[in-house]
């Protein structure tokens, strides 16, 4: 198996695994966050605006972990430096 094939296989498999494993954690975390927010809303409906705003801010912070994994996955597929290098190497041959 030459370099090109190896790099292609590694990039594609890693990209898929990155986004697959990387979305499990944030999804669970966001579920727990919303569940707790809903129960505290039920306990204190007066603080609805504060709870909602804090919930959204917290969700955005949790979501950014999934976004990091997504960005890494996109880089591996579309802007892969090793792939470009190997392509340039083989085009030069």
């Amino acid at each position: 198996m030459d370099n090109m094939t190896l790099i292609a296989i590694a990039s594609i498999v890693t990209a898929g695994l990155t986004i697959a494993l990387g979305s499990i954690g944030p999804a669970l975390g966001e579920g727990r966050a919303v569940a707790t927010a809903l129960s505290s809303l039920a306990q204190q409906p007066d603080a609805a605006t504060t709870i909602t705003r804090t919930l959204f801010v917290g969700l955005a912070m949790i979501e950014s972990i999934a976004i990091y994994c997504f960005v890494v996955s996109m880089i591996l597929i579309f802007a892969n430096p090793f792939w470009n290098y190997v392509i340039a190497l083989n085009a030069g041959k």
């Binding site: 605006t49 504060t50 705003r53 959204f56 801010v57 955005a60 912070m61 979501e63 950014s64 976004i67 990091y68 997504f70 960005v71 996109m74 579309f78 802007a79």
Partner: protein
Amino acid sequence: MRLSPDEMIFWQHGFIKLNGTIAFTWGLMFVLAVGSKLITRNLSRELKRSRWQNLLEIVVTGIEKQIEDVGLRHPKKYISFLGTLFLFVALASLCTVIPGYEPPTGSLSTTAALALCVLVAVPFFGIEEQGLGGYLNSYVEPTIIMLPFNIISELSRTLALAVRLFGNMMSGTMILAILLTITPFIFPIAMSALGLLTGMVQAYIFSILAAVYIAAATRGRKAKPMQEIKA
């Protein structure tokens, strides 16, 4: 597959490129500036006012109230910065309904620039409120051992701001592009609506996080008792 509006090049002269990001950013700036100038030409204080003035008043008072809720006590000092952040990112996301438009926040350069603005603004407002010594003291706040961690957290917050906004905007446009090649008609419209929603939420998140960071930098220790009484 186009990863960002950086790759839409309209005009090139050797090294200097006019790409989609620059063109759309300037277009947004033009719309915001000229629109506000036109609407605020004849402001009226009576009950009868134009609908555009009403719209702007709703937006401005809404942002002011949000800034106050976060804990910044004089929202007028910060509303120019935070309001601009919100309006720019929100308009950049709303305009995706215009065909041929790509949000400039889908390029890492734009979001990195916005995050760098926040990185500079936080010490600026902190020093303005607490003085240089007071602000620098906040870095050694619990103990001196926390100094490197506070510095690292400052930098990583900026990075997180940039990547969060970039990731959300880019994923929105990319999902749309991919879906258009698979199911051309109904599903991309639903995803485009979802993209609009996440764009507005991300605009809100960006400005609220900037407000929270500024509030943490300008808080100081003496402000705490007053906040407890207010609550």
